[in-house]
């Protein structure tokens, strides 16, 4: 029963708390109990707030008892990636250097979740400084669908905790796919909003013009609720958009009939596993069957996105890490240190050239998006790889793992447009397969609408990881 409670959609839990059929303390205790059982094996939390979470839940229950209800996150346990500053709760950034770092203030997103009534249940594991590999002090996060498999990165603890029923939602950050990749590997929903839609203030940067903060959840409706709580203009982040935040939940059930969805099939240099490609293609066909019109598009500059993302992120991160790399370099994971150090040696003229090629890509995507409502892409070219693997085999070819994994996701980081990943099937090994929906800038509502239309037909998001399942498995139709 406790496990069923932990896997209930956030919206449903929130509604029950709102009607006072369930208390925040009951929900928080259930999640803490489940964390106590599973988080050790999965290694998805760096810090579990425990008593502080229960105290927060008690306070929220008391508040509700006197008639103050803060909205659809009131009393709901949510986790934050550990590069998001939380006042009084240590924020390690996945780094040994910051293992005892306790911020004096909240990141804007953390503060907004508190104001919305969310209970901070813990800080999730991540790649060191959200860039490349887990530090040995914290270790790898294990995939709840197969404990020997990776959760990708860098918001791997966020993806894992949500998939395993150890949080109703978790915030992650995404510089080149770091929300969407773990969401895809873990079979949950991940949203990288429009650049500027969600404040980055108080979030440790990787690439200033590539970083995004967004929610990971088990359902589309839950993602809409959490994004609405954290989105909007923030004076502390001058890059945030002043555009009003719409009611994302309002458009969810409008369906896709009559919508035009761009499909960029087989772009230059693309390789994808046959089973992943087939599941993604079936998802496209399902949306067509639901009334959308699929429009083939070509993206000639698409193949450059990955190079630009990695190089620009390395250069920008190198500046933030410059002092630490000269004083405490030995405390970094070697490959993470390398990712940052190479950024010091990229000539400025190359950086400017990359930002001009990026403009070519943005213009190309703007032209495409002018004629469509959204775009469909795979999320990853393969299912979750074994922990520690440096290479993966995709389409019969062995590739560097990160080269393969960042095939489809950096595009939306360069263009700043919103991108959502959601599951569209499972491999023969029972590992999740996902696809992406990209929208026009600031049009997350359309992305949610298309995603919900698919989710309604195929309830992949209701599946539970096998090793942690206690209730009968839901059996959605095979697309």
């Amino acid at each position: 029963v406790i496990d069923d409670l932990c896997f209930e959609p956030l919206a449903s839990i929130a509604a029950r708390i709102g009607r006072r059929k369930l208390s925040s303390v009951e929900v928080t205790q259930a999640v803490l109990d489940r964390i106590g059982q599973l988080a050790g094996d999965l290694n998805c939390y760096i810090t579990v707030t425990g008593e502080a979470a229960l105290a927060q839940a008690e306070a929220l229950d008391r508040l509700q008892a006197v008639g103050t209800y803060l909205g659809p996150l009131h009393g709901v346990p949510i986790a934050l990636k550990d590069n998001i500053h939380t006042v009084g709760v240590r924020t390690t950034m996945g780094s040994a250097i910051f293992s005892d770092n306790v911020p004096a203030s909240d990141a804007t997103v953390a503060a907004r979740l508190r104001l919305a009534g969310a209970v901070l249940i813990g800080k999730t594991n991540l790649y060191e400084f959200a860039f490349g590999a887990p530090h040995p002090m914290y270790g790898p996060v294990r995939n709840p669908w197969d404990l020997d498999r990776s959760c990708a990165g860098s918001s791997n603890g966020s993806g894992c905790s949500v998939a395993a029923g150890l949080a109703y939602s978790a915030l992650g950050t995404d510089t080149g796919g770091s929300i969407r990749l773990p969401a895809a590997y873990c079979g949950v929903v991940g949203v990288k909003p429009t650049y500027g839609r969600v404040s980055r203030a108080g979030v440790v940067p990787v690439g200033y013009d590539l970083d995004h903060v967004g929610p990971l959840t088990r359902t589309i409706g839950d993602a809409a609720i959490v994004l609405a709580a954290v989105a909007g203009r923030d004076p502390a982040d001058p890059t945030t958009a002043s555009a009003p935040v719409p009611d994302y939940s309002a458009a969810l059930e409008k369906g896709v009939r009559g919508l035009r969805l761009a499909v960029a099939r087989s772009q230059a240099g693309e390789q994808i596993d046959a089973n992943v490609g087939a599941a993604v293609e079936k998802a496209y066909q399902a949306l067509q069957a639901a009334g959308a019109r699929l429009i083939e598009v070509d993206l000639p500059s698409y193949s450059h996105a990955r190079t630009i993302m990695w190089a620009v992120a390395s250069v920008e991160a190198a500046e933030w890490h410059r002092g630490l790399l000269r004083s405490r370099a030995s405390e970094y994971h070697p490959s993470v240190r390398t990712n940052f150090e190479v950024g010091e040696f990229v000539p400025a003229v190359e950086y400017v050239h990359m930002q001009r090629v990026r403009r070519v890509i943005i213009d190309e995507m703007t032209r495409v998006m002018r004629d469509v409502d959204a775009m469909l892409l795979p999320t990853t070219p393969c299912v979750a790889h074994p922990i520690g693997a440096q290479t993966v085999t995709v389409g019969g070819c062995e590739q560097d793992m990160w080269t393969a994994l960042t095939q489809y996701t950096p595009l939306a980081n360069l263009t700043g447009q919103p991108a959502l990943t959601l599951p569209c099937g499972f491999s023969e090994r029972g590992l999740p397969i996902s696809f992406q929906i990209l929208g026009r800038r600031l049009d997350e509502s359309m992305v949610f609408r298309v995603a919900r239309a698919y989710e309604r037909e195929f309830e992949w998001t209701l599946r539970r990881p096998p090793s942690h399942r206690t209730a009968p498995q839901t059996s959605g139709p095979v697309p």
């Binding site: 013009d209 450059h304 190079t307 070697p334 150090e341 010091e344 930002q355 001009r356 070519v360």
Partner: protein, 68 residues
Amino acid sequence: VLGQPNPQITRETLQGFAAYAGIDYTEARLDELMPSLQSLMADIRALWDVDVSNAEIALVFTAEEPEA
């Protein structure tokens, strides 16, 4: 395309860059960094062929009124 020779990154050039940046690498660290830097720069140089003649830099400042 730009009339440039294909530049090579050697241990000496990296060592020179590092000295300029105020970093003193060990020989072992230079060996670790070289493949990653060479790979990254090779990828970056592949972008030289992209026609950017009509492309503004992606990082631009918009002329908005400051928030009151």
